[in-house]
């Protein structure tokens, strides 16, 4: 770690940590605890729609009623309803498959960019980053125009006589995959490019001198050395895709929903906040592993840089 600590001994600088630290505690840590609390309380027809489980004025007795008021009924409901389980499984499956597609599509792009030099390379990187700056929602919306029943894809395919009747692309898993790959591609390409670009070219020269063919050199040198970038890109895509809402909501069908949609529905349509909170807690538990892995990779990368 870059623990130079140039300013470590000065008191006046410590104010730096205090305000943003407090901000994060109040607006990130505390809300996480509140979700946990509400996921353990009962649904009620009130505003807010759950029974208040903690009464600060109650003191010690209040703490006792608080503890006895907790119930795991929401989690029991989650575990017993196949709808929720199917929703979690579908999210994990879609995220895994989409991440795999992203790897297969993103790798050649990142590799190609890393082979170019100087200004061309900088320009290509800019071109990959640019869509990231335009609205996510707009980019998904653009696909509706293309994929809808009388949309451009069907017209093009009919025009080319590849199909006779329009195919319904929208409201299907295919559309979800297209939307996910499209919107997450920069997140996959950039970390891959970053590792491929740093690769020492003399290693490949040595391999060539020793008689290795190009694909053999790629297979035994480039690919293994680019694995950290691939892992970072994969996690950067997989984790948010599991909880994705916009893409499946606008492009997907209505049969099996992804968990982000289920949470949204429970919250906004059914106004069942405790169940929504329980869904969020379970989702977070599922993602703790990948998030820890990502954090580990990031820390290692920071260490290697300094």
């Amino acid at each position: 770690m870059p623990v130079a600590g140039t300013f470590a001994r000065s008191r006046s600088v410590w104010a730096l940590v205090l305000i943003p630290g407090l901000w994060l505690v109040v607006l990130f840590l505390v809300p996480c605890l509140i979700i946990l609390k509400i996921s353990l309380s009962q649904t009620a027809l009130a505003q807010p729609p759950y029974t208040p489980v903690f009464d600060w004025t109650g003191g010690w007795a209040g703490l006792k009623t608080f503890l006895s008021g907790l119930s795991v009924s929401n989690y029991v409901a989650l575990a017993n309803d196949t709808l929720y389980i199917a929703s979690y499984l579908k999210s994990l499956q879609i995220a895994a498959l989409a991440t795999l597609m992203l790897l297969l599509i993103g790798y050649p792009i990142a590799y190609g960019i890393a082979q170019t030099k100087g200004r061309a390379q900088a320009f290509l990187v800019l071109l990959v980053i640019l869509p990231f700056w335009t609205s996510f929602l707009i980019r998904i919306y653009a696909w509706i125009t293309i994929l809808q029943h009388d949309g451009l894809l069907n017209r093009a395919l009919i025009g080319l006589r590849l199909i006779d009747a329009p195919v319904s692309w929208l409201a299907s898993d295919t559309a979800i995959y297209i939307g996910l790959v499209y919107s997450y591609l920069p997140f996959m390409v950039l970390p891959l490019y970053a590792t491929l670009q740093k690769l020492d070219p003399t290693l490949l020269e040595a391999a060539a001198d020793l008689g290795a063919r190009r694909w053999k050199a790629f297979w035994s040198i480039t690919l293994p050395l680019s694995l950290p970038g691939a892992a970072a890109g994969a996690l950067l895509c997989f984790i948010p895709i599991v909880g994705e809402f916009v893409v499946p909501d606008l492009l997907g069908g209505s049969e099996t929903m992804m968990i982000g949609q289920t949470l949204w529905l429970e919250f906004f349509a059914n106004r069942d906040w405790p169940i929504a909170s329980a869904i969020a807690v379970v989702l977070l538990c599922l993602l703790v592993g990948p998030i820890a892995l990502f954090d580990n990779l990031r820390a290692r990368q920071l260490r290697s840089r300094s």
Binding site: P31, V128, L287, D295
Partner: protein, 268 residues
């Protein structure tokens, strides 16, 4: 042995076409005279005119811009402080915790962040609307700011700061007059990123907003759910154009600065 093969060129070209084709189509069809989005009915600006007359849409644009500006400014301030702390204060109590709280929101699914913030706002019983969305966006985007600025601070040569301190400059003043100006390019791009993330956010805003504070993405989303509309193409085109102009301007400023530097070193 960096050699461009046909395969390399093809994969980059196809990848970029995939990234840009949908946006291009969207822009082209915003000038379509026909109401049917997939039939070309001739060039027209009628959807832009319709947009100007759409009061609700303009109100949403105004709300979104205000929230984005305010939250990006706050996030830049707070996020830069965290970055300075993580990169320059050495080991201190709570460093791991601060670092974790900075990186966790980045990968946290938006639905969870949105729901948890809403539950907090309900728990402390504040009126939801403009300010709650601003606070929520600040919380999310300050983490992005921290990452960008921290990366720059870690790469920066620290000997200049050390020299200033050796010459008797007090730490806080060194930080403000030496460290921060040196990190300024990263701080500016962090501000821009925070701004665009806030402008783009649908999920967190939907959870934390209240009556009277409809942001542009919320407005667009409610229209898009009902189907494709040419007016949406028009507003999207305007947003894309804004971003494109901003990026071109930024890279132009960067390049002319680079040229000035070259000139200066040439003279010296």
């Amino acid at each position: 042995m960096r050699r461009l093969s046909g395969f390399n060129i093809a994969s980059v070209a196809i990848g970029l076409a995939f990234l840009y084709l949908p946006i291009t189509i969207l822009v082209i069809y915003s000038f379509n005279d026909s109401r049917l989005v997939s039939v070309w009915g001739g060039f027209s600006l009628r959807w832009y005119v319709a947009l100007i007359e759409d009061r609700d849409m303009l109100e949403a644009v105004r709300t979104s811009l205000a929230i984005a500006l305010l939250s990006a400014a706050l996030a830049t301030l707070l996020g830069t402080c965290v970055a300075l702390a993580l990169a320059r204060l050495g080991r201190f109590r709570g460093r791991t915790m601060l670092s974790a709280m900075t990186y966790a929101p980045l990968v946290m699914p938006e639905v969870i962040t949105g729901l948890s913030l809403l539950l907090l706002f309900v728990a402390v019983n504040v009126d939801r609307g403009f300010w709650t969305v601003t606070i929520a966006h600040t919380t999310l985007t300050m983490c992005f700011v921290t990452i960008i600025v921290q990366a720059r601070l870690v790469d920066m040569d620290q000997s200049i700061e050390e020299a200033a301190m050796d010459l008797g400059c007090p730490p806080l003043r060194t930080l403000l007059t030496v460290t921060v100006p040196m990190a300024a390019p990263a701080v500016i791009s962090a501000f821009l990123l925070a701004f665009s993330l806030s402008l783009d956010d649908l999920v967190i805003a939907s959870f934390t907003t209240g009556p009277g504070a409809t942001t542009l993405p919320i407005r667009i989303y409610s229209e898009v759910r009902l189907g494709v509309k040419p007016e949406i193409n028009a507003i999207s085109t305007l947003m894309i154009a804004t971003v494109a102009i901003a990026v071109v301007l930024a890279s132009w400023v960067e390049r002319s600065r680079g040229r000035n530097k070259l000139n200066e070193t040439g003279k010296a």
